[in-house]
Symmetry: D3
Subunit: 61 residues, 6 copies
Amino acid sequence: MPLIQISMVEGRTVEQKREIARVVTREVARIANTKEEKVKIYFTDIKPENTASGGKLKSDS
Amino acid sequence: MPLIQISMVEGRTVEQKREIARVVTREVARIANTKEEKVKIYFTDIKPENTASGGKLKSDS
Amino acid sequence: MPLIQISMVEGRTVEQKREIARVVTREVARIANTKEEKVKIYFTDIKPENTASGGKLKSDS
Amino acid sequence: MPLIQISMVEGRTVEQKREIARVVTREVARIANTKEEKVKIYFTDIKPENTASGGKLKSDS
Amino acid sequence: MPLIQISMVEGRTVEQKREIARVVTREVARIANTKEEKVKIYFTDIKPENTASGGKLKSDS
Amino acid sequence: MPLIQISMVEGRTVEQKREIARVVTREVARIANTKEEKVKIYFTDIKPENTASGGKLKSDS
């Protein structure tokens, strides 16, 4: 720990995930006062038809 | 919030997800006494070999 | 399955959860074309200081 | 319940998942003192570029 | 990884969780062909009124 | 979206969570090229006896 699960609409590049992993690990370790190697991150890519806000699928908005 | 994560065996259509999103958002907002636009829903499609009940994979039953 | 995980800010009553469980189970079973006894629901109560939107804790807004 | 969600880097075979489901169900039911048919297991296959430890993507290490 | 999230109705003892952690780690590492120190386990204790099956809260059944 | 679920061993202060929410929202929005108000964060506080690494409960190590 910390365990960080990041769900985003699919389409982000590996480069964006690499940068998010690097920066979020650094900042959470710094603020939570723990070591960077303790921080685990998982990304989930969500299809637009698999997420809804206000009752409407993202693929419909 | 409310955040609603719905995992189902893969195979449901976008139309079924559209209807579930609409109805579940309406009902949860009504009962939980909040606004529909606050309700977020995520669907996860699960392969039959990725779920087990009673120790048996769904793809084996 | 379906497995439905509902996270809400703490404070909803057992009666609200009873009603959400009943209605969401009925509607998801109907739309997803499965049996009600197959539908599992889990509620998570989230403290206001444990959720943030737009970078601000709910307990600060 | 118990509900067991197992996330692993993609690549495990259906046979490995079948064995994990069988053994984990048996052991958790035994130790938690519940029936095997009550135990639900979900596997999530994670791409190497979707997991990071210590700020580095698994696909980069 | 593997990351294993185990949700159970509240009431299991620390001793039961200790035993589940030990045995599930050993077996998943063996079957998934990975090292035990790579296996992370998280337990979530669920109140009976926070889980429902077939539309009925566990606290009502 | 993005939806970010951060699980940490219990004990972090509201101030630490406020800072994590602010910084992680800013950085993920910047890198993922989305608006800050789209970023939702949930914290889960984990008791030491509810997490294990390498088969050992954190409360035992």
